[in-house]
């Protein structure tokens, strides 16, 4: 099982802040994960935007980065505090 976290506006897009699921066998990296999840939820490309970055186990990664069950994978829209 992988834990997926949805931050910022993606929390609204996905309708939840996080979920735990078993990755399909075809999903071995972040690029495949974006595509599969976007299609599975009918998001029309929202997860494919270049400005959405992924973090695997709390490290921001560049696509494609390996993912597997047991990983914590965060979907991060543009950040900014202050």
């Amino acid at each position: 099982m992988a834990q997926l976290l949805y931050f910022g506006r993606l929390m609204d897009t996905l309708g939840r802040p996080e979920e735990t699921l078993t990755l399909p066998a075809s999903v071995r990296d972040t690029s495949a994960l974006r595509e599969w999840l976007d299609r599975d939820r009918g998001l029309d490309g929202a997860l494919l935007e270049k400005t959405i970055r992924l973090a695997v186990n709390s490290e921001i990664v560049a696509d494609p980065h390996p993912v597997s069950d047991g990983d914590e994978i965060a979907f991060m829209p543009p950040v900014g505090g202050g």
């Binding site: 976290l5 973090a55 965060a74 829209p77 950040v79 900014g80 505090g81």
Partner: protein, 150 residues
């Protein structure tokens, strides 16, 4: 010193505490960011800040270490609120102490530019027309680019 917390804080009290720690400093610069009361979509009812711990803390600590490398600082402090805040409440407080004022000004300015564009937070503003996620303005990215090492 870094503190990320859902608890409200008082910028004046933080400045007094900081001054007491900054022994030998000639100048202290502080920045306090407040929840604005008006957005383009109307009066602001609330601002909600979301962090991703410990990534958020790690990033800010790295930026603070970079500031200490770039400028001779006697003390450095960052406080950042998370959770829901009302207009007028303090979101962020940055203070930098140094012997000369230019270093203190630049370090505080640098950290604010980092916090606005790279710190791992997401912001949602609630106004009369609903809730809106806010992302950095292009001006924020331009401000941040001033510190690029050449």
């Amino acid at each position: 010193m870094l503190r990320i917390s859902n608890e409200p804080f008082d910028a004046g009290r933080e400045l007094s505490a900081f001054e007491a720690e900054a022994t030998g400093a000639g100048g202290i610069v502080s920045f306090t960011g407040l929840v604005r009361d008006h957005a383009s979509s109307g009066a602001v009812r609330a601002l909600t800040l979301q962090a991703y711990s410990p990534m958020t803390e790690r990033g800010i600590e790295t930026a603070m270490a970079e500031a200490r490398e770039r400028w001779p600082l006697m003390a450095l402090k960052v406080i950042h609120r998370t959770g829901e805040m009302a207009p007028g409440e303090a979101i962020v407080f940055v203070a930098a102490a140094s012997i000369h004022r230019r270093a203190a000004f630049e370090a505080a300015d640098f950290l604010m530019d980092y916090l606005k564009t790279e710190a791992v937070f997401w912001k949602k503003e609630a106004t009369a027309t609903g809730e809106h996620w806010i992302e950095p303005r292009s001006q924020d990215y331009q401000d941040r680019a001033r510190w690029a090492k050449v």
